[in-house]
Every structure is written in structure tokens, then in C-alpha cells.
Symmetry: C2
Subunit: 430 residues, 2 copies
């Protein structure tokens, strides 16, 4: 059954992921050929710095002209691991127009322009695969798109950023503050010199947009995702979480509304019970919970980043796209037929943990409780601690809308007896 | 893009899983049509007892003649959820010969005759999908076959039987003995009236054979799988496990030998550290660890059985097979090109926890230690407890071959000072 003419692969980008893709394509060439049904050949590698020595890559394949490479016309699959919006976007659409299918690891681009790229792939009868764009090696896109294609997904709840999980895990296990934990993450190479994309939740928000779109068969743009970073999480928050039998994780949460008519997607730090499987996800690992009508709760766990794990996901897609190519078919494209509106954050319903600094005098609790009641937010528990004329109140609410909670907090801030709102954190996974 | 002529599905079996498949096909017909690109229609349901009332199923579709149904010639996909070897095997091959692709949930059949069934599918240019055969709703076959198609899997380690996990979890959490925990599992419907297939490991062994074959791109027959049930596990074993910071799980373990030239597959109870993610898999849930060269450690977790979860997996396959049908392609078939030999249990290398009842007198430990040394089994720790002239020795070994361990135990039994071997248990997941 083996075809002898090789399938030609163009690699765009040869950094941590790209070099690993090239290495495995060479060292595992026989296995890949057997699994695909034809040999695959690295036909060109587009890089920015051609003079850099790249072990195991024939210098004759290296070019700085990525556009010419994707326009060659004899390329079967373009693997895009450059990242960022441009030139990746133009190169991918050019690749489709010149007969290639595309495997990408580019979460930012897919989150922003996924619909347009899928349309370009479909218009040219080509594949666009991007398992590596979300949670590294963890199979997530394929299970959502294919394994759960006969089910109705209601919620995706996950740790999809390894850098922030490393930092939060460190804070949890050592009592360190945010800056100290970030410094350690940076020193160990888990955080970049500029950690903004990770710690402010941009990276996780891009993944949430991609996951929500696939899970709910609708379009969720990056701008639709509510986003809160984790730079404000304190050691005191972890202490509060522990008292509740919880820990704190930066979560990406995509939910179908109870009436099924809309969806939400959000990224923010949240308390989750220690008994929840996500609570024990350590270090830079990722894990994603998926809740569906028929399957119940599924969890997918593994390394969410790194050259080799991301290369594993890229190569799985490469094999699939090559197989499709040989059979003259394409895999599942965008599925956005449900066309559900994305509701704003105010419509999200969850529980809240609120720490208030209050005056230590009689009647404060009654005042505070009245404010919650007036905004329709029902209180589950209150804990009061006093010292030196100051006191703190920790309120945990029942499920309430984010809009009601925001209104409650605004009103609380206006009370004379409330000196400040020390922290507000959502409670998930119960 | 929607085709209006429906794809026709024949359902073989309408028990717990089949009735749920039929129900979802009806209630989610629009979603399935949108995801496939054409409507799907239930064209016939083969059952044993036609007089039984089946809610939501048109009685006109019901037949007792499964053979005639699969021979109709207009069936696109046969969904086989009868279970067992015959008549399922003949019906599936007949379906291929008459132009249908097949989705099956039949682990026993796939483990025994997978190669022949794949060959029949390929000879007729049809698909054979069976995600539901292993671990219910948990996507496992598709991730192994497709997501990891560019990686090299070295080990699959999993809890793939919910009944035994329920029993062992109960023994662990309550201190109950095996019989008491089994009785509770039976009362709650987690164990069948005859629990042999579960508690003796036959069910898990079938799944291990399927997983090993797919993971290592080779053929692993059911007879190749070493199998030990969990009926001999005692409350005392759990007490010993706890002292070591472990719990006990019935594990399916598929490994590639370190030299890569052979594989092993086995099912037996084993101690695993409480820190291992599999240790916290509770109740009837399943979870499978997959270790690969590039991806590192992945885990897949979810409900391993039940009508709805199994139906979710069946329907995911149904959507995939229908899509293939529309595009005129077939999905990945059997991949057994590696053709690796399956090594016997004696070649498996792992650690052991051995409890011995010994005479409480000087020199016994030296005698026992000599026997281990003579058989090349290195001791990690020994714990000695004495009472009333009797004593117990608990030995934990370093990694050794099963053959060496068996030889050691035989020699130990011949020592006058060894009154008995109370238990031997492997230690995994470290």
C-alpha cells in the first residue's frame, strides 16, 4: 500500500517547536511513512536567521523567503510554528491558495482569525489542523471535534497555561507571594522575560476562544472572552482558600447557558475545592475538564507547552493531514452552525468569595448583609475576625450573576463601615 | 453543503447502550445532521425480544433478523452493540461485504478477532471504528491512533474496569474486605450477578490487548495478555499499601521493552503511590496514563461504562464514519506494521512488595536476604514485625524481572523458617 513519491512538508519557523518537528521527522521517518502510507520529506525550512547552525537540518533546505516557499506549488503540507498574527496569517492563506494543507500551533492567530482561515481552507479544499494551539501535547481539539461529535458539550473548565499554574502552585505550596513565585518561574525558564501574555491571561483567553468555538459549534472571538489576570492574587488569598478547603487556579471556563441559547467564555483566577481533580494539577502541567450530556465528566491532562510536547501534537496533525491528502479527502472543518450568541460577563452565574476590611463595631454585619440582600445575592457563609478596632468579613455567596455581584460590591464600597474590599474571587468546580 | 438523502444506520442490539444511541439519534438529529453534513436515519433495529416496548423507537423498524438487516445493501453504517463473539462477528463481516461501515463497542470481539475484522473492513473499503470498546466515553482509541500518530508511545498504564475500581476504592476507604465490597458493588448495580469477567480481569485484559496493539502499532492477542484478578486482595494488603504511602488498583499495563524490540501487556492488582494521579481515581471511573517520547505523560479520565457514556463514544464514531462515507474516504485502519513480538510475563521488569510469615528467631532475615541475592533480586527495604514466636517480614524490591521474582518466591517457600508467603504484589507508577 506504500506510495513511494514522498509528501512534501514546508516548515515555517525553526525555533523550539520547529526544530523538534524537524528532528522527529528525520529520526522517525520510517514510522511516519508506515503510519501515513507514504514517506514524508522536509522540502524547505523558512527561518529569520539563516546563518544559525541547525543540527540535523540540511542547510540547502533553509530559506528566509517563507512566501516563496509556500508558493512553490509542490508543497503538500505547510507546518506553521512561527506564532503571532503576521506574517503567519498571510503565509497560511497563501499556502492554501497554492495547494497546501496547513498544520499550525498558532493560538493567537486561530483565536483572532480562525473563521477566516477555515473559510480559506474550505474554499481551496484543504485541511487546517491546530491541535498544538491549545494545551500542547494534550489531545483536546480532536476529542472535542471528533470523539464528542455526537454529544452535547455543556462546559469546558481547564488549566490551559503552564506558566501561571507553576506560579500559583508555587504560591500554594510555599506561601510565597506573586512576585517571588514569578521570579522563580522566570529563573527556571517557565516564564518569559515579559510574562504579560501569560500572567494577564491573554494566552489562556486565546485558548478559551478556540475551545469554546469547537465545543459549542459556534464562533467565539477573542474579544468575546472575559479576561482577568492573576497578578493580584496574594498569599492572603491562598490562606483564605485553604480555610475553605480550596486552592486557587487560573481557569479558562467556557459554558453553555442553562437554557442552551447562549454561551460564555472567561479566564480568571478562581478558588476550586481540593477534592476537584484540577486542584492537584501541579507545576506547569495543563488539564481540561469537559462536561457533556452523554459522556459526563471527562478530563484530559498533560504537559501544556514545551518543544517536544508541542511537536508531538503538530506531528499527529501532520500524519492526519497527510492521510487525508492521500485519500483525496479533508478532515472536519469549522463547525459553527449553532451560531449561538456570546453573553457578556454580567450574565455569568457562579459563587463568590469576598474579603472585606470593616470597622469592628456592632451592626456592621447587618449592614453588609442588607446590601447583599438588596442586590439579590444570597449569602452562604460569613466569617468575621476582629483585631484592634479593625475587622475582616469573609463572605461566600450562593450562585449569583456577575452583574449582581458587581452591583453589590459597588454598594459595599459606599458603606462608611467598609474600609475596603480586600479581594473578590470566584468559586468554581463545585 | 447539506445533502438531503439521509445516511442509513442499522442498530444491532437495543439494550442499555443501544437504546441510548437510538434516543440521542432521535433527539439530536439536527445537530448530528449539521455535524455530518447529511441527515442520519435509523433504518432498522435488530433485537432478540421484539415484543418488548421500546420508547421512542418505531416498532416498524424492529426486527429479529439481524442478518437480513445487515444484508439489505442500503445500510451505510452498522452499529453493533450486541457484545460477545457470535453472532456479532459474522454480522460485522457480513455488513462489510454488503457495503456498510461498522461502529462497534465490542471489546471481547475486537481483542480476539481485531486483525481479521480490520482485514475484512479493508478488503471491502469500509471503516471499522470502536472507541466505545475501551473505557466508555473516554477518548482513547482516537487519541492513540491519531493524536499520537507522530509520537512513539512507550507505556499505557490504566484503570480500565469500573467495577473493580469501585470495589478496590471501597476497600481502601472503608477497610472492608473483598466480599463485603463486592456485595455492595452488586447491590448498587456496579457489579453483575456473575462478576467473573470483571474481578478476574478478563474485561481489562481485552482492553489491554486492544490498547497495546494500537499504541505500539503491532498485534497483541488476548492470549498474549498476562492476567491476574483482584479477588485475592485483602484488607491486610491495603494496610501494607498505606504504610508505603500507596493504594491498590487493578491496572492494565502495556509496555515497550527498553530496547524497543518487544512489548508486554498485563493486567493485575498493583500498589501505586498516593501521589500518582491514578491513585485518586474514585468509584467506577476509569483513567489511562499514556507515556510517549515527545508528549511526555498524558492522562485521560472519565466514566468507563454506562449507557450514556458508551453511547457518546459510539455516536462520535458514527459521525466520523458518516463523514468518511460522504467524502468517499476511510479513516485509519489497523496499523500493525511494527510487528513486535509480545514477551512473556517473566520478562516484565518491575518492583515487588512481598509479605512473608516467618519464624521469629535470629538469622531468618539473613536467610531470606540470601535467597533474594541468589536470584539477582535486589532488596530496597525490609520491615520486620514480631509477635509470639511468629514474625512477618515485608520486603520491597528494586526493579527485577518477574521470572527472577518467581524463582525467589519458590526458593523462599522451601526455607524451613518461612511459614508462608502472605502476599506478593507489584509496585507500579513510580
Amino acid at each position: 500500500m506504500m506510495r513511494t513519491r514522498p509528501l512534501k512538508v514546508a516548515l515555517l519557523g525553526c525555533g523550539v517547536v520547529g526544530s523538534e518537528v524537524a528532528r522527529i521527522m528525520t529520526t522517525h521517518a520510517d514510522d511516519l511513512a508506515a503510519r501515513i502510507g507514504a514517506p514524508v520529506e522536509l522540502a524547505g525550512v523558512a527561518v529569520r536567521r539563516p546563518s544559525k547552525v541547525r543540527e540535523g537540518i540540511d542547510p540547502a533546505l533553509v530559506t528566509t523567503d517563507a512566501t516563496a516557499l509556500v508558493k512553490r506549488g509542490d508543497i503538500d503540507v505547510v507546518v506553521e510554528v512561527i506564532g503571532g498574527i503576521e506574517p503567519a496569517r498571510t503565509l497560511i492563506t497563501t499556502a492554501f491558495e497554492h495547494g497546501a494543507s496547513v498544520v499550525s500551533a498558532n493560538k493567537a492567530l486561530l483565536a483572532q482569525d480562525g473563521a477566516a482561515l477555515h473559510a480559506a481552507a474550505e474554499a481551496n479544499g484543504k485541511d487546517l489542523y491546530y491541535e498544538a494551539a491549545v494545551a500542547g501535547a494534550i489531545p483536546l481539539i480532536r476529542p472535542l471535534r471528533e470523539s464528542l461529535a455526537g454529544d452535547k458539550v455543556n462546559r469546558v473548565l481547564g488549566i490551559v497555561n503552564g506558566t501561571t499554574n507553576f506560579i500559583l502552585d508555587k504560591m500554594d505550596s510555599t506561601g510565597a507571594g506573586y512576585q517571588e513565585a514569578l521570579d522563580e518561574a522566570t529563573a527556571l525558564g517557565y516564564a518569559e522575560a515579559d510574562p504579560t501574555a501569560d500572567v494577564e491571561g491573554f494566552d489562556a483567553a486565546a485558548k478559551a476562544a478556540i475551545l469554546a468555538g469547537i465545543a459549542f459549534h459556534t464562533r467565539v472571538r477573542l474579544d468575546d472572552v472575559y479576561r482577568e489576570g492573576m497578578t493580584e492574587v496574594t498569599a492572603a488569598d491562598f490562606a483564605s482558600a485553604k480555610e475553605m478547603g480550596c486552592t486557587i487556579k487560573l481557569l479558562a471556563i467556557c459554558e453553555r447557558a442553562e437554557d442552551g441559547a447562549s454561551v460564555t467564555a472567561r479566564v480568571h483566577p478562581a478558588m476550586i475545592p481540593l477534592t476537584h481533580p484540577l486542584a492537584s494539577v501541579r507545576g506547569a502541567y495543563n488539564a481540561v475538564f469537559v462536561e457533556s450530556d452523554a459522556s459526563g465528566q471527562l478530563m484530559f491532562y498533560g504537559p501544556g507547552a514545551g518543544g517536544s510536547p508541542t511537536a508531538s501534537a503538530v506531528l499527529g496533525d501532520l500524519v492526519a493531514v497527510c492521510r487525508n491528502r492521500l485519500s483525496g479527502a479533508t478532515g472536519p472543518g469549522e463547525s459553527a452552525y449553532a451560531a449561538l450568541p456570546v453573553s457578556p460577563m454580567g450574565d455569568v452565574v457562579t459563587r463568590y468569595h469576598i474579603s472585606l476590611d470593616v470597622a469592628d463595631k456592632p451592626g456592621v454585619l447587618a449592614q453588609v448583609a442588607t446590601v447583599f440582600a438588596e442586590h439579590g445575592v444570597s449569602i452562604d457563609t460569613v466569617r468575621q475576625q476582629g483585631k484592634d478596632g479593625e475587622a475582616s468579613l469573609v463572605v461566600v455567596t450562593h450562585r449569583a450573576s456577575d452583574a449582581a455581584l458587581v452591583g453589590t460590591v459597588e454598594a459595599l464600597r459606599k458603606l462608611d463601615t467598609v474600609r475596603g474590599v480586600a479581594s473578590i474571587m470566584r468559586v468554581e468546580g463545585e
